[in-house]
């Protein structure tokens, strides 16, 4: 796997945790929300990630019945997921600020 896709995958995981932490969502809704924020992810790519986050017990899903339309599986954050999310936020801050500085071309004062 390339560094780029690995990086993106980690970021996408963090973003999914963040969306789920605000409210319960189902897959379609989640992908629309991510796109709404301007994240250019293909819709289908969230499902393998959702499966992995469930296996790692960061989120859990509950299938809700519907007679007319499709069943929806709603996702909720677990305690473990909250910890992972705040961890991600910390790590993200640690990357974002230096990278922004670097890209904006500010010379490091010595």
């Amino acid at each position: 796997m390339t560094i780029r896709s690995q990086l993106l995958k980690g970021i996408l995981e963090g973003c999914i945790l963040a969306v789920v932490s605000r409210q319960k969502v189902y897959g379609y809704e989640l992908s629309m929300k991510l796109q709404g924020y301007g994240l250019e992810v293909s819709e289908g790519s969230i499902y393998p990630i959702l499966l992995r986050l469930q296996k790692e017990r960061l989120i859990y899903g509950k299938m809700e019945k519907s007679n007319s339309g499709p069943n929806r599986k709603y996702y909720y954050l677990t305690q473990l997921g909250e910890e992972a999310l705040s961890n991600f936020k910390k790590q993200w801050e640690g990357i974002k600020i230096p990278v922004d500085l670097l890209l904006n071309g500010e010379e490091q004062s010595q």
């Binding site: 819709e43 499902y47 393998p48 992995r52």
Partner: protein
Amino acid sequence: MKVEELLTHNNKLRVKLTEENRKYYEDMLVYIRLSYDKSEKETEEILSELLGHLIEAQQEGRTAEDVFGKDPKKYADNIIGELPKMVSKERLLLGSMSLLYFLGVSVFFIGIVRMINQYVIPIDQMTNEYYILSVVVKTLTSIPIAFLLIFGALQYLRWACFKNISRVKDFFILWGWEMLSIGIFVLVYYLVPDIGPVIEVSGWFVALLGIFLYLAGSFVKRISTNN
């Protein structure tokens, strides 16, 4: 929700898909379901989610290719890679169900053949006598052979997914495989010598035993789908 409900719901909803989207989705569905060592419940749940997503996307004018990408096999492999494995209890239930079905059907047909021999047309040298040790050896050798043959058929079906193999070709390959299977069982039947004490059992009893084993199999199936 139970697996059974998810299955019926999926069947009902699939008709809402357009021809193109249904083909794409069903290929994926067959391929994912054939990954037999994955948790059945998780498998059906993700299939239901993907279907629901596709239906919503279709209403907005997007196709399965837009949603899941140009390579359905690769996408399905991604999903399968993340699906949790069957837990041992599920494995045990599935294994004993298959075993009971296999034994049930085989024993039933042996009983029927013996009954034909007894009441309709006598078959050469066939009696209602069984050599106990031979029966044990035949049963114990045919079980692993049956599992291997089924495993082989599953591997073929998985391989054939997304390949657009013509139905005729598909039919003949599976037919050939079946003939081979029957041949192997006949071979086992003839190669095992007559050993051990002899008992006499009527065809009726053997056929009934087959039915009983089959019913036991469907009982195990009920338990596993109600989980």
